[in-house]
């Protein structure tokens, strides 16, 4: 055991990377609450190595050490891994609810799924496609969908770095305090609205979809051309009921 263990692994240590992935996999397989000793026994790894790898994965937030301090569970970063694009199956019942909204709303209607701290545009409007799903996923502070996710986090600074709020347009919120105030508003209204913050000429509004247990599982969003968020906000006001219906279907 050396004090330098938390300096991480280099690419020249394939064995260590394999072992770390095996540890991650074992925690996922065994279930929440599995102990370090059980992981070591199951994998046949030396205990000290296992403890070191577990601490490393906890430090990087792929795993979480539960409050009893001896059980482990998958962390939110592991959830982000699991929900990669293409892996998410959207149930037909969900697609039907979204299609029903599209029938009565004149703007683009999108369902974005939430896995951990990542967004997955799962059912985007074929008639009004998202301009850039990549930007949506990368810049959570600039889109209405991202703001719903950030407002749900216990502290948004855990998710995006407060000093890396990139200005995508002149309207993008780039100051931590301003974003904080916006998120407070999102929580109070149960709806996020933005105009021209991600793309100059697109506005968007979004409402959270929660599982019956209250966990944020998706975001329902309306997008429209123009920097004035008014029309989107008006359309989003009618999304409350569909969001409630989607919750049990997704979580």
């Amino acid at each position: 055991v050396t004090p330098g263990v938390d300096r991480g692994l280099t690419g020249r240590q394939p064995k260590a990377v394999q072992s770390a992935l095996a540890v991650l996999e074992e925690v996922a397989r065994a279930g929440a609450g599995v102990t370090a000793k059980e992981v070591a026994e199951e994998l046949g790894l030396p205990p000290a190595t296992t403890y070191r790898l577990l601490n490393l994965l906890v430090g990087e937030e792929f795993l979480v050490r539960l409050p009893d301090l001896h059980g482990f569970a998958l962390g939110r970063k592991a959830a982000s891994l699991a929900g990669g694009p293409g892996l998410l199956q959207v149930p037909t019942a969900v697609r039907e609810v979204v299609a029903e909204i599209r029938g009565r709303v004149r703007h683009g209607v999108h369902l974005v799924l939430v896995a951990g701290t990542t967004l997955h545009p799962a059912d985007t409007d074929p008639d009004h496609p998202l301009r850039s799903p990549e930007l949506l996923q990368r810049h959570l502070h600039a889109s209405a969908v991202g703001k719903v996710l950030l407002a749900d986090a216990p502290d948004w600074r855990d998710v995006v770095h407060p000093r890396r709020l990139q200005a995508l347009t002149a309207r993008t919120v780039t100051r931590g305090a301003d974003l904080e105030a916006e998120l407070r508003l999102v929580r109070a209204r149960g709806c996020a609205v933005q105009g021209g913050q991600l793309h100059e000429d697109v506005s968007c509004a979004a409402v959270p979809v929660r599982s019956p247990a209250g966990v944020l599982v998706g975001v329902l969003a309306v997008s429209a051309a123009g920097a004035d968020p008014g029309p989107c906000a008006a359309a989003a006001a009618t999304l409350g009921d569909p969001a409630v219906r989607l919750g049990p279907l997704l979580g």
């Binding site: 409050p67 009893d68 951990g116």
Partner: protein, 490 residues
């Protein structure tokens, strides 16, 4: 799937919520530990004192002290990689020794942080007042201390990030100044023989022991990054790293500074060694008075950063105790806008500023106040370290992750540091520090009363001891199964 998983039982909110989460970079976390340690003040004051007593044993003694501190640091990383604490070694101790051991350790830690804040405040005021030519009479130093104290109040309440950055800047400035002064003095051509008789005195066991014990005190505060569990980004990585890097870097700095001073003092007159800062004295005599002033500025900066760092750490220990309910709950409140434990700071800072100011105004000389409070704080730190190190093997055994290395390190650190503490307590009266060791022992009396009172009147509150930034549902992946029962079917 109807069974409740451990994930379902997570509290919806961290028990130490309210502090600004995950804002500090690694450099800022490191700054907390480095500032509480005050390396530049240690670089110029400690080697000279050790040299007088230990002669040629100085360098080996300081290296041994660095190793001993690194041993404690390594022990603390076992906790720091596993829990994001706000109460520092107090919270760590709770996980190994239980609430009673933790309360004693926490009390000692609070005495350590509190006393060193007072000491550093007097130090900062002393050097600042000297620097701007106000003289060093007690009332002047008291007034300067009050001004410095006010500045510290503003930065610590305003936010941890601000105070960490200020501390980092002050430390970089002061270490740079001290290093520059030492290099210039080393390069200035000068012959002659000086205090070689003292500097190169033969190695004696008691000299070596003195060098180790005093050397160790130069590192006190290195663990204070352990109070930033909530405020650091990636705390389970940054905090253990800071706890190991701080003593390693400070050890190199102190040993190098000592080596430079050995060379310098070899060619200096003997009486230079009797002053508080021989390097400054030497600069003055070489006609380089400006270097002496620079050195004073560096020391003042380092002491100021130390007040900030130590009060930040102390306030977070008291904040944790407030949240647990073993101290008044109000201490656990945080400022709505700045997210700092402003109530705890509001209790701590008047005491830290008030005690030395009153002592000075009632006629105490600044330097004895500085050394007495420093001695008291050293005792406090050592008790806290000993308990935390002894807690390591117990904690790891409880969670089923004990390794041979941790068992040996924790036990060795606990035993060695206890020996050092006993030796220092026994030797203190002969070295004029009897009052300080008596004051420290007296300061433990309220701790006993506090623990007994809690045990008798509110045993339920003891169970809460050991709160840390534990995970919430938001930090785990949703929809996980519970672990299958061992031996049973799935």
């Amino acid at each position: 799937m109807s069974e409740r998983t451990p994930v379902d039982l997570l509290p919806s909110r961290s028990p130490v919520a309210g502090l600004r989460r995950r804002g500090l970079t690694f450099a800022e976390v490191l700054a907390q530990s480095v500032s509480a340690l005050a390396p530049s003040a240690a670089m110029v004051t400690v080697p000279a004192i050790v040299l007088v007593q230990a002669g040629a044993a100085t360098l080996p003694g300081l290296v041994a002290a660095t190793v001993l501190v690194l041993l404690v640091g390594w022990c603390l990383t076992h906790f720091a990689r596993r829990m994001a604490a706000v109460g520092g070694t107090y919270s760590y101790t709770a996980k190994g020794l239980g609430p009673v051991g933790a309360l004693f350790g926490g009390w000692a830690l609070a005495v350590g942080y509190g006393a060193v804040s007072m000491s550093a405040l007097v130090g900062a005021a002393l050097y600042l007042a000297g620097l701007v030519g106000l003289g060093t009479s007690p009332p002047v130093v008291a007034a300067t201390a009050a001004v410095v104290g006010l500045a510290v109040v503003v930065t610590t309440v305003r936010g941890i990030q601000l105070s960490a950055r200020v501390a980092l800047a002050l430390e970089v400035l002061s270490v740079g100044l001290v290093a520059a002064v030492l290099v210039v003095l080393l390069l200035s051509p000068r012959g002659g023989t000086g205090a070689t008789a003292v500097v190169d005195a033969a190695v004696r066991p008691e000299g070596l022991a003195f060098a180790v014990v005093l050397g160790v005190t130069a590192f006190m505060g290195f663990e204070s990054a352990t109070t930033l569990g909530v405020e650091a980004r990636r705390p389970l990585v940054a905090v253990p790293r800071a706890v190991l890097w701080t003593p390693a870097v400070a050890g190199v700095l102190v040993v190098l500074a000592a080596a430079a001073q050995v060379v310098l003092l070899r060619r200096a007159p003997l009486d230079v060694l009797t002053g508080p800062v021989p390097v400054g004295e030497l600069a003055d005599r070489e006609g380089l008075a400006v270097l002496g002033r620079l050195l004073d500025a560096g020391i003042a900066a380092s002491f100021t950063a130390c007040v900030t760092g130590s009060t930040n750490a102390l306030s977070r220990v008291l904040f944790t105790m407030g949240r647990e309910g073993v101290l008044p709950r109000a201490l656990g409140r945080t400022h709505p806008a700045f997210d700092t434990p402003h109530v705890a700071l509001g209790v701590v800072l008047p005491a830290v500023v008030g005690v030395p100011v009153v002592a000075l105004l009632t006629g105490a000389r600044p330097r004895p106040v500085l050394t007495a409070t420093l001695t008291v704080s050293a005792f406090g730190y050592v008790v806290a370290y000993v308990l935390a190190c002894l807690a390591v093997p117990l904690f790891l055994r409880r969670i089923g992750e004990l390794t041979r290395g941790a068992l040996v390190a924790g036990t060795a650190a606990g035993v060695l540091w206890t020996l050092g503490l006993v030796a220092a307590l026994l030797a203190a009266p002969g070295r004029g520090a009897g009052a300080a060791s008596a004051a420290f022992l007296a300061s433990l009396v309220p701790a006993v009363a506090w623990v007994v009172l809690l045990r008798v009147r509110a045993p339920g509150r003891l169970a809460a001891v050991g709160l840390y930034d534990s995970p919430t549902p938001a930090s785990v992946a949703p929809g996980q199964r519970a672990r299958a029962r061992r031996g049973g079917g799935r």
